[in-house]
């Protein structure tokens, strides 16, 4: 929806001139906006919480591609902005322009939020580098600076610095409705004159004003970069700051009018409860509980449904089809049914979970609550070097590690994201719970519940201890920065924005994770199908005689000090790398037990008990406990690895896998060696 003149007034724009100063050209003065590498590059910059990403999504829609910027884990979004300039942006007396000529096709890049060009984090460093650090020829053709109209002065520091650099720029004013509620009125004409660059009022959440923005961008691209704003001839930062703030104050005074007393907003009233010393943490825990419940309880039946669909009708259909064309019972059937369909099916069972997670995240972000959650949990999380909002992914991890890894995106700093993504695998997900319940029932009888509870307690301690160790070794300075958070006004989340953000994140997850998950599941099937001895057919070999089984037998002695050095148990750990849910079915397959669910300690339970008794030299209970601890601490599943790969890159992912394996082995050995003294 275009921002028409009456709407401009609704958004408290004092458009005293019939036309915004930045929009004065005819459509014919279009720039070379062809598709591909020749298309102009427009960078979207601005302080965090100014609606920058919302604007990016509104402008690029589903044409976004996401990727890790080389050398950092900071994500820079890049998309194609196909815009049509409004007739209002044309100065023809009666616009007769060819509609095709009104179209703009631009490359839009969304840079990490930055308050200034003085970087305080890798994110801000990247923004500075791309805007003014690289050679002029490699810089964006134009910067659109998103500025929050409700707190304009704070958004203009970056504008002041960019003006000093002579960067071609345009200011997009967001949050005009919030400003209006606070009694702030903005004269874009006067503000534009004071800032020395075009100023456009927009509402990206409702997609208003985007055509006017496109017109202004098209016009600005056709003009030469402005002369840099003169600054004092000094290197004294304080003096430079004084000059900038004086310039900002003059611009704000010229372009805005605000009541002398700031009225109490309803955001303030909500914050009285939400960030309050006692009630705030309780509300925070309630919200976290809700997120945890929704991502587990609501998603679980949908996951089961999809799982049943793939293991049932889809697999049966494929088996029938392969049989009909003469491939039934061959290795092709094994590859298709047990490899590809199982792999794709597993990936798709995560879709409901991830969708719910991303929707909830988008809602929390869009509403403004996440900033409050960060304040409330800050002191607790700071003890392990993380900001308050890191609590959310860690809580989600107790449901499923995969969305929890993706949830680390809410963290502002790259190092914080890496550390949190390394800690999430130590949170005990529900997939591990199924194995804990089974082993608890077999080995601890009526105390099974206590044994499972102990696993959760160990899980929490692992998160804290690993956080402390990593902070004191790898990132000693992290977490020492004091809490300074700009609290945005609460907003009612919009359906379109929530759906758009959730879809983009889900798509990104599927694109990255699908290849890794399907390839790994297929690889495990392949290893289980290849015989090591002559005389056995490919795809029809018992597990212990396959490459997989022989490898498990070779690795099994490594676990002997932990009391579970049998190949049957060691092989389940390899299967558990793919998915913890597969541990029980792997045991069932290995012991040739009919019921693969393993929920009750029947024949399967007896077989497992005997195996642990034998491998532990008569100490099955500490051996089972050690196995449970190992299961808790080592790599959760291949989907988690895929999510880590996407979020923190291969180097940290491999580091995490190594760290978890070492931690798991050391703890398991310690538990068994100490435990055997008592049991």
């Amino acid at each position: 929806m275009a921002l028409t003149e009456p709407q401009s007034r609704n958004l408290n724009l004092l458009a005293s001139s019939p036309q915004l100063p930045s929009v004065k050209a005819c459509c014919h003065t279009t720039t070379d906006a062809g598709a591909g590498p020749e298309a102009p590059v427009v960078a979207l910059v601005g302080a965090p919480n100014t609606g920058k990403s919302t604007l990016f999504n509104a402008l690029t829609g589903a044409r976004v591609t996401m990727g890790n910027w080389p050398g950092t884990t900071v994500e820079v979004s890049r998309g194609v902005w196909k815009a049509t300039r409004s007739a209002a942006s044309c100065t023809c007396a009666e616009c007769t322009c060819d509609p095709d000529e009104k179209r703009l096709e631009l490359t839009l890049i969304d840079l990490p939020g930055a308050y200034s060009l003085d970087p305080h984090s890798p994110d801000e460093d990247l923004t500075r580098e791309l805007l003014v650090g690289v050679p002029v020829a490699e810089r964006p053709d134009l910067c659109v600076v998103a500025c929050d109209a409700s707190r304009l002065a704070n958004s203009l520091y970056l504008v002041a610095q960019l003006r000093e650099q002579g960067v071609a720029m345009l200011v997009a004013l967001t949050m005009l409705d919030v400003a209006a509620k606070r009694g702030v009125q903005i004269d874009t004409v006067a503000l534009s004159a004071a800032l020395g660059c075009p100023v456009i009022g927009i509402d990206p959440r409702r997609r208003a004003g985007l055509e006017a923005l496109a017109g202004a961008v098209g016009e600005a691209l056709g003009e030469a970069a402005p002369t840099p704003r003169r600054r004092p001839d000094t290197s004294d930062e304080l003096e430079l700051d004084d000059d900038r703030f004086g310039w900002i104050a003059a611009a704000v005074e010229a372009g805005t009018s605000a009541p002398s007393e700031q009225p109490r907003t309803w955001s303030d009233r909500v914050d009285r409860w939400v960030t309050a010393p006692v009630l705030g943490p309780l509300i925070f825990l309630g919200v976290m509980w809700m997120v945890f419940q929704i991502t587990t309880v609501v998603a679980a039946p949908l996951q089961d449904l999809l799982d049943g669909l793939f293991t049932g009708p889809v697999s049966a259909g494929a088996t029938w089809l392969l049989g009909a064309i003469g491939l039934g019972g061959t290795w092709v059937e094994g590859l298709v049914v047990d490899g590809l369909i199982a792999g794709v099916g597993m990936l798709l069972t995560f879709v409901p979970l991830m969708t719910l997670m991303f929707v909830l995240l988008a809602l929390l972000e869009d509403s403004g609550y996440l900033a409050r959650a960060a304040v409330v949990a800050d002191r607790l999380m700071r003890s392990i070097g993380l900001p308050g909002r890191a609590f959310l992914p860690l809580i989600v991890g107790f449901g499923c590690n995969v969305p929890a890894i993706s949830a680390t995106r809410i963290l502002p700093g790259a190092r914080q994201r890496v550390l949190t993504a390394l800690l999430v695998p130590f949170t005990s997900c529900t997939a591990r719970l199924t194995v804990f319940v089974m082993l608890g029932t077999i080995f601890f009888g009526e105390y099974a519940g206590t044994a499972v509870f102990v696993m959760y307690v160990i899980s929490i301690h692992l998160v804290v201890l690993a956080g402390l160790v990593l902070r004191r070794t790898l990132w000693r300075t992290m977490g020492t920065e004091p809490l300074i958070i700009d609290l945005p006004a609460y907003q009612r989340p919009t359906l379109r924005l929530t759906a758009s953000v959730a879809w983009l994140r889900l798509k990104g997850f599927l694109q990255t994770a699908s290849g890794i998950i399907v390839a790994t599941v297929a690889a495990v099937w392949l290893l289980q199908s290849i015989p090591v001895q002559a005389g056995e057919a490919f795809g029809e070999v018992p597990v212990q005689d396959s490459v997989y089984g022989v490898a498990a037998q070779a690795v099994a002695p490594v676990f002997a000090p932990a009391g579970f050095g049998s190949w049957e148990t060691a092989s389940t750990l390899a299967v558990g790398f793919v998915a913890k849910e597969a541990v029980i079915s792997s045991w069932a397959q290995t012991y040739a037990v009919a019921d693969p669910d393993g929920g009750a300690p029947g024949a399967l339970g007896t077989a497992v008990l005997n195996s642990f008794t034998e491998s532990s030299g008569g100490h099955p209970v500490p051996a089972a406990l050690a196995f449970m601890v190992f299961l808790l601490a080592y790599t959760p599943c291949v989907a988690t690895v895929a999510a880590q790969w996407r979020e923190i890159g291969p180097r940290w992912t491999l580091f995490g896998i190594g760290m978890q394996l070492v931690t798991a082995w050391v703890l398991a050995v310690a538990v068994f060696q100490v435990g055997r003294l008592f049991w």
């Binding site: 520091y157 703030f245 700031q262 914050d271 309050a276 010393p277 304040v375 920065e481």
Partner: protein
Amino acid sequence: MRALLDKATLTHMYVGMDLASAPLHTSLTLLEADAPQSSRQRLASLGLRVGTRFTLLQKTAGGGRVALVGGSRIALGAQLLRQLRAEVVR
């Protein structure tokens, strides 16, 4: 006790206090920021500099405060409050 103190005494008491002991809902002027350079820069880019007028709106969990600076609400951690000194605007 407080009711017995006159306005002049209260004003004198509040001169040059750190933000942890500054009153809520009272117009304050920042006198000194004895914080690391990075924190001072971050505060400055959010509009809170020496000489800026602001108001503390409320206490937060963890011992921090929410400050109203210009049109912005900025949450400040407990540790930082002790590094910032302000006086009541007379």
